[in-house]
């Protein structure tokens, strides 16, 4: 009986897994606004940031930490990338949304290498041109978004597109 029960093909689909990631600080704050705006439905959400302590907004949720890094810190960047790869292989999310900065970019690289699609939302702090990380992300993510209408390139399907802004 038990065998028959477990062998029965299931019709229910696995919940879709949406991963939200940003380095801690202003990028994280913007990510939390996005989370607030997202219809969650019955999707599974996970959060990734660089804070050792679980950020207040992620307490009780699925939170993972990756090492922080800045431009020029090659060793830290490598640690961050390898930690991101491990996370992606373990969790296999269906979609990654990140607001940056460098840790977000490295996680986006890890995501694309392991078959997860990526939406990049460039920080609203970059009103005059895309951020350095954003310009790199635009080359390989599935969709790159800017929060400034005048920075959008509407002739390019992968972006940057303007969807609106947290401000």
């Amino acid at each position: 009986m038990t065998t028959a029960e477990t062998a029965r093909p299931t019709t229910r689909q696995k919940a879709q897994h949406l991963m939200l990631a940003a380095s801690f600080g202003g990028h994280w704050k913007q990510l939390m606004v996005l989370e607030d705006l997202l219809d969650q439905g019955d999707r599974r959400l996970s959060f990734v940031s660089t804070s050792r302590e679980t950020p207040p907004e992620a307490i009780g949720a699925d939170y993972y930490r990756i090492p922080d890094c800045n431009a020029g810190e090659r060793f830290n960047a490598l640690r961050c990338l390898s930690s991101g790869l491990g996370l992606m292989l373990r969790l296999r999310p269906d979609l990654l949304i990140t607001t940056g900065a460098l840790p977000g970019l490295l996680l986006a690289v890890a995501a694309k290498l392991t078959g997860t699609r990526v939406i990049w939302v460039d920080s609203v702090a970059n009103a005059e041109c895309l951020s350095t990380s954003g310009r790199m992300a635009a080359k390989f993510v599935d969709l790159c978004c800017t929060q400034w209408e005048h920075l959008a390139d509407n002739d390019n399907a992968r972006g940057p597109v303007y969807l609106g802004s947290v401000l």
């Binding site: 879709q16 949406l18 801690f24 600080g25 202003g26 990028h27 994280w28 704050k29 913007q30 606004v33 996005l34 705006l37 997202l38 219809d39 439905g41 999707r43 804070s51 302590e53 950020p55 207040p56 800045n70 269906d94 979609l95 949304i97 699609r117 939406i119 920080s123 609203v124 702090a125 970059n126 009103a127 005059e128 599935d142 969709l143 929060q147 969807l163 609106g164 802004s165 947290v166 401000l167």
Partner: protein, 167 residues
């Protein structure tokens, strides 16, 4: 009290020094400063280099006004909690940031009424007095968020194959 925060990444001695001078030996108003890796140590106000998220939130809630660099994280946190915020943008020519993006951000948040901006730090005291004597709480209105919510959800649904036309 006044809560000052310069963010976690870079020092901002010019800002710390001007608040310290305004509070002065006469202790014009109680204040606490988070000064990061700054070299200037305040003489008239208590301070800490960094705060964990919990302590940061505690100071925010206790503040009548927040004084900060023009960082998106600081501005969004204050907007969400209805706390008046006065920001001084970091300047590239003074070595306070990698470029002048905070000045561009400052113009935008100012035009949307999301923060009071002080470009010349000698005006900080005057603006603080004005804000502290003001009765009305700021009503931050993020006019581009509705659009972002609509478009972001449509985009995520398209990526995850759970389409459904949104208006």
């Amino acid at each position: 009290m006044i809560f000052m925060t310069v963010g976690t990444q870079l020092a901002f001695d010019r800002l710390v020094r001007s608040l310290d001078a305004w509070v002065g030996p006469e202790q014009r108003y109680p204040a606490f400063a988070q000064i990061g890796r700054g070299e200037y140590l305040p003489e008239h106000i208590s301070y800490d280099r960094y705060l964990d998220p919990e302590a940061y939130q505690k100071y925010l809630q206790a503040a009548q006004v927040v004084v900060g660099h023009c960082g998106i994280g600081t501005i969004l946190s204050c907007n969400d909690q209805g706390i008046p915020v006065v920001v001084v943008p970091r300047r590239f020519d003074l070595g306070e940031h990698r470029n002048d993006h905070q000045i561009a951000t400052a113009r935008q948040v100012e035009s949307r009424g999301l923060a009071r901006v002080v470009y010349d730090e000698s005006q900080l005291g005057a603006v603080l007095e004005e804000v502290l004597s003001g009765e009305q709480k700021p009503e931050a209105y993020h006019k581009e968020r509705d659009r972002l919510a609509r478009n972001l959800n449509r985009t995520v649904n398209r990526f995850l194959g759970t389409a459904g036309e949104l208006s």
